[in-house]
């Protein structure tokens, strides 16, 4: 490889200092701490095949005072923007929101921990993880050794966010492709921010790491011991939740107070203490708050009801807001005397913002202990529910406003007649927004009635285990090559899906089929809320190792970085490609040669958008549920028309592979059944060995037959390069079909890469090393 010797700019020299370039753990690649335009040519290459598909959510742009501007039918706004570019701008904004959420969460945790331990606190991810920070190392080029190093990284992310946000201003970017490139950039940085956050958490709070066998913890509202005072945590940031547990332990109160959580805070808390309870994912937040079981509700940030104090007033709970991101207009009691705060909360029923974690913890515990004995906590009976349900006239307004299109009125009127089956089904579909109850002209207390529809079971979920171990990565290389592991899946994202059982069903099906199934966030919780044979959840039925048929709870939303990190580890550990400041080569490898697929069945938030888009830039496709059409943008290919040429790095020639693998990068499926059929197909990659290809096709064809009425998939011939690719069980049937359509074999591409098919600074040798 020819050495390009050029003068370093002042900025490049500064970056090299920041990343300690002189320490040669690997040579520094071409893009240390990349800025907006540095990976643009890679983005453009991806977008050439996976063209943005826009479903505008709104025909108008309302962002400036020249508006509202009608952008329909080719019109441009007052600034010259067209509808496609406007959608792309909003997507960039969403990805920036997501990136900031994680970056700020990470930054906040870092401040908290550096305050406690100092910036020199060493990063140690355990015996089996030497590659501690694949995203950070790949994107920035720095090997982080201390908390202080993580601060350097997060400051780079903060800087990029500002520049990216700048481009959303009036009169900036005019190309939707360039807005997409910026969204991809913001989202790649999101994975960096998430990695900072989770590494800091693992190191600072002693979360599990280098262990697959984390404890099975309890999940479900029924797992909460209501005879005790209940502190409910809602949000994402474990700075406060861990402090609360510390306080309880130190004051010998941990047996006397129940600590439960909703959303990612619950996942984080159970990584700290396996006695904490997980109430459920985001879709259960409003439901649970309205039961009034929680004595004190402690909020931090992200995905929390913005009217939490009002909801709390309705059920006589108390709220403590612990982060500046969400203060609800409450009085800031951070500097007040603790006993005074407790008094006002107990006697005057006030809520406060307390931005000091230690004080917030103490107040939460003291208030809970004081008010619990006086609060009536109970679930309504079936008789009471039936009485309340009789108020419903089935006018249908609830159905009109429900985001999941449920006719709650039908469920309520059946319940009024004593039948609970429909309402139980509907409860599984409820995403917990409260609009039905808000609109009901008869003031039917729908959420209260749902209490009898809510299952009283408890479920088991594994505590989040953090990164995939280097040893695990090494172990799966052979099975992936030899075809015993058909792919790596990641079930991630929020709880805005057609039905909560969908996630568990998909996880079960694919774990049984020996895929490696990783999970994070609300999806991890949802997957655990269904029992299969012997009353066990998927976490009890399948092993927790990163191996065939394994089901892993990686952790909370910030733990998603470990999934993209695992893909990078495969390229670096297994294929021995250098990753330092070498994002384009890593992404090219993952895209062409790692059979991984994300499934964000209930994605709803801006964070989910940036997480998904971040996976996309790394070359990992994501399959989304129907609500995700409202994100406005997908990345789809047209399999027969598009450009499937790659460079064969062995032969050093461009080859038209004709194979749409993966077929799409961001894709919406209407039903769970079709998703089951698509997922195996999205794991196909051009470098599959015949054994690997035939196992993937086995599952594609098998699931197709199950859900599509038999026969063979219409496009199966596109994925068969040679006869040896055909799965054994379907050999005769497929051969007959291929003969019918006059199929011709083609040579598999030994070392597929996109390098060489588009203008890039990366030399071809870099993908072979």
């Amino acid at each position: 490889m020819a050495e390009v010797v050029k003068e370093l700019t002042r900025k490049e020299k500064e970056i090299r200092e920041l990343i300690r370039a002189e320490i040669p753990w690997e040579p520094v690649g071409p893009t240390p701490m990349p800025e907006i335009a540095d990976l643009r040519s890679w983005d453009m290459r991806l977008l050439k095949t996976y063209k943005p598909w826009y479903a505008p959510f709104c025909d108008l742009c309302c962002l400036c005072t020249y508006g509202k501007c009608d952008l329909s039918q080719g019109r441009r706004g007052a600034c010259g923007l067209d509808i496609a570019t406007q959608q792309a701008r909003i997507i960039l904004l969403a990805c920036l929101m997501g990136c900031s959420a994680h970056a700020a969460h990470g930054g906040h945790i870092l401040e908290h921990l550096i305050e406690k331990y100092g910036a020199d606190k060493k990063i140690d991810m355990g015996t089996y993880i030497e590659l501690e920070a694949p995203n950070i190392r790949t994107v920035t080029g720095l090997k982080p050794e201390t908390l202080g190093d993580l601060k350097t990284v997060i400051e780079y992310v903060y800087k990029e966010i500002t520049h990216l946000l700048d481009s959303t201003h009036f009169g900036q970017e005019g190309s939707y492709l360039d807005y997409e490139s910026k969204a991809l950039h913001a989202s790649m940085l999101d994975h960096v921010g998430m990695e900072v956050a989770d590494i800091a958490q693992i190191v600072g709070f002693n979360f599990p790491t280098s262990v697959a066998d984390t404890p099975l913890v309890d999940m479900g509202w029924a797992s909460v011991d209501e005879s005790k005072p209940v502190i409910l945590l809602v949000g994402h940031n474990p700075a406060t939740s861990t402090t609360i547990i510390d306080y309880l332990r130190e004051n010998d109160l941990y047996d006397k107070v129940e600590v439960a959580g909703i959303c990612c805070t619950a996942l984080e808390t159970t990584r700290y203490s396996d006695r904490a309870k997980i109430v459920g994912p985001l879709s259960r937040q409003l439901f649970y708050v309205r039961t009034g079981i929680a004595d004190v509700i402690v909020t931090d940030e992200q995905c929390i009801r913005t009217d939490m104090p009002i909801e709390a007033d309705n059920v006589d709970s108390r709220v403590i807001a612990t982060l500046d991101k969400a203060m609800y207009g409450l009085e800031d009691a951070t500097d007040w005397d603790t006993e005074e705060i407790v008094k006002q909360m107990v006697e005057d029923k006030k809520h406060f913002a307390i931005l000091n974690t230690k004080k917030a913890a103490e107040v939460a515990a003291k208030v809970a202990l004081k008010i619990a004995p006086q609060r009536k906590k109970r679930w309504i009976t079936e008789e009471e529910a039936i009485e309340l349900a009789k108020k419903c006239t089935n006018c249908g307004i609830c159905e009109r406003v429900c985001p999941n299109l449920i006719n709650i009125g039908d469920g309520i009127t059946e319940l009024a007649k004593g039948s609970f089956d429909l309402i139980k089904e509907q409860f599984n579909q409820c995403i917990g927004c409260g609009k039905c109850e808000q609109e009901c002209p008869n003031k039917v207390p729908i959420f209260k009635i749902m209490q009898v529809a809510a299952s009283k079971e408890t479920w088991k979920i594994r505590a989040g285990r953090g990164p995939v171990m280097d040893t695990e990565i090494r172990n799966v290389g052979a099975p992936i090559t030899l075809g015993t592991i058909p792919g790596v899946l990641a079930f991630v994202g929020c709880s805005n899906y057609p039905d909560i059982d969908d996630v568990a069903d998909m996880v079960y099906e694919f774990a049984r089929r020996k895929y490696i199934v990783t999970l994070t966030g609300c999806a991890a919780m949802a997957a655990g809320m269904k029992k299969f044979e012997n009353g066990k959840t998927v976490y009890e039925l399948f092993p927790p190792e990163f191996d065939a048929g394994g089901v892993l709870n990686v952790g909370s939303c910030v733990s998603n970085a470990h999934i993209s990190g695992a893909a990078i580890k495969i390229a670096n550990i297994f294929a021995a490609l250098p990753l330092r400041a070498n994002y384009e080569v890593m992404a090219d490898y993952v895209f062409n040669r790692v059979g991984a697929c994300g499934v964000a069945w209930g994605a709803m938030s801006q964070k989910a958008a940036s997480i998904g888009t971040g996976f996309n830039r790394l070359g990992i496709p994501v399959l989304l549920g129907p609500h995700s059409s409202k994100y406005r943008r997908l990345y789809l290919s047209r399999k027969e028309e598009d450009d499937w040429t790659v460079m064969d790095a062995r032969k050093r020639e461009i080859v038209d592979s004709g194979e749409p693998s993966p077929e799409h990068l961001a894709y919406v499926c209407e039903t769970k059944e079709k998703a089951m059929v698509m997922i195996p197909k999205l794991c196909i990659r051009k470098n599959d060995t015949p054994q690997g290809r035939s196992i993937k096709l086995n599952h594609y064809i098998s699931l197709y037959k199950k859900y599509m009425g038999g026969g063979l998939p219409e496009d199966v011939h596109l994925f068969i390069r040679r006869d040896a690719d055909i799965p054994l069980v379907y050999k005769k049937e497929v051969r007959a079909y291929l003969k019918e359509i006059d199929w011709q074999p083609k040579e598999p591409v030994g070392l597929p890469t996109l390098i060489g098919t588009y203008p890039t600074k990366v030399p071809l040798d870099a993908v072979i090393h």
């Binding site: 598909w53 826009y54 479903a55 505008p56 959510f57 709104c58 025909d59 108008l60 009608d70 952008l71 329909s72 039918q73 080719g74 509808i83 496609a84 159905e399 009109r400 406003v401 429900c402 985001p403 299109l405 057609p498 129907p626 609500h627 059409s629 409202k630 997908l634 789809l636 047209r638 028309e641 894709y667 919406v668 499926c669 209407e670 039903t671 059944e673 079709k674 059929v677 698509m678 859900y707 599509m708 009425g709 038999g710 026969g711 219409e714």
Partner: protein, 183 residues
């Protein structure tokens, strides 16, 4: 006077809304005038029943009556095979819309792109989003219609919000009759 779609998530934020077709004769006319119509079948057709008849059967009857090719989205094909038929193409709704918006696409039968696409049975929020794709990017060569029970602002032609299933079923039966008659 704007009509609010039954599911409020689909409310129009824009200026151009679909024309409501309340007369099955007029509807049949619009369909038959199209040179290469396409019927897109959504997954809800497997779940819904009207007057004891599966919604998918209504859709298949319409396709037969007007001799329109049908695209089975999601896992609709599974049910169709059970009923003894096969769709002319299998694409998910986001995929078929992706193809339809390309004026150079040669259509399901490779005879040329379609000029009228009729949606039936896709869950309404997803259907409205897909109609938005076509409204903004295919308006030059393609008209869109929905035969679903509710009003869809992004389509070119839409049915009104039917209050009762029977009214909707009745409309579809009359539409079928008119399609057969005028053929």
């Amino acid at each position: 006077m704007a009509v609010v779609p039954f599911h409020r998530v689909n409310v129009l934020t824009g200026i151009k809304a679909s024309r409501i077709i309340e007369d099955p004769v007029q509807c049949a006319d619009l369909i038959l005038k199209a040179r290469r119509p396409l019927l897109v079948l959504g997954a809800k057709l497997i779940e819904w029943s009207v007057d004891g008849k599966l919604a998918l059967e209504y859709a298949l009857d319409i396709a037969r009556a007007a001799r329109i090719p049908a695209c089975g989205t999601a896992h609709v094909k599974g049910k169709m095979v059970e009923l003894g038929v096969s769709p002319d193409s299998v694409y998910d709704v986001v995929e078929i819309v992706n193809a339809l918006k390309d004026p150079d696409w040669r259509g399901v039968k490779k005879e040329g792109n379609h000029d009228l696409v009729i949606f039936l049975g896709v869950r309404s929020d997803l259907e409205e989003q897909c109609l938005s794709v076509l409204k903004h990017f295919a308006y030059k060569h393609l008209r869109t219609m929905t035969l679903d029970k509710y009003y869809f602002p992004h389509a070119n032609y839409s049915l009104p919000n039917f209050k009762k299933d029977e009214q909707w079923g009745g409309f579809l039966e009359e539409l079928m009759a008119n399609l057969r008659k005028e053929r």
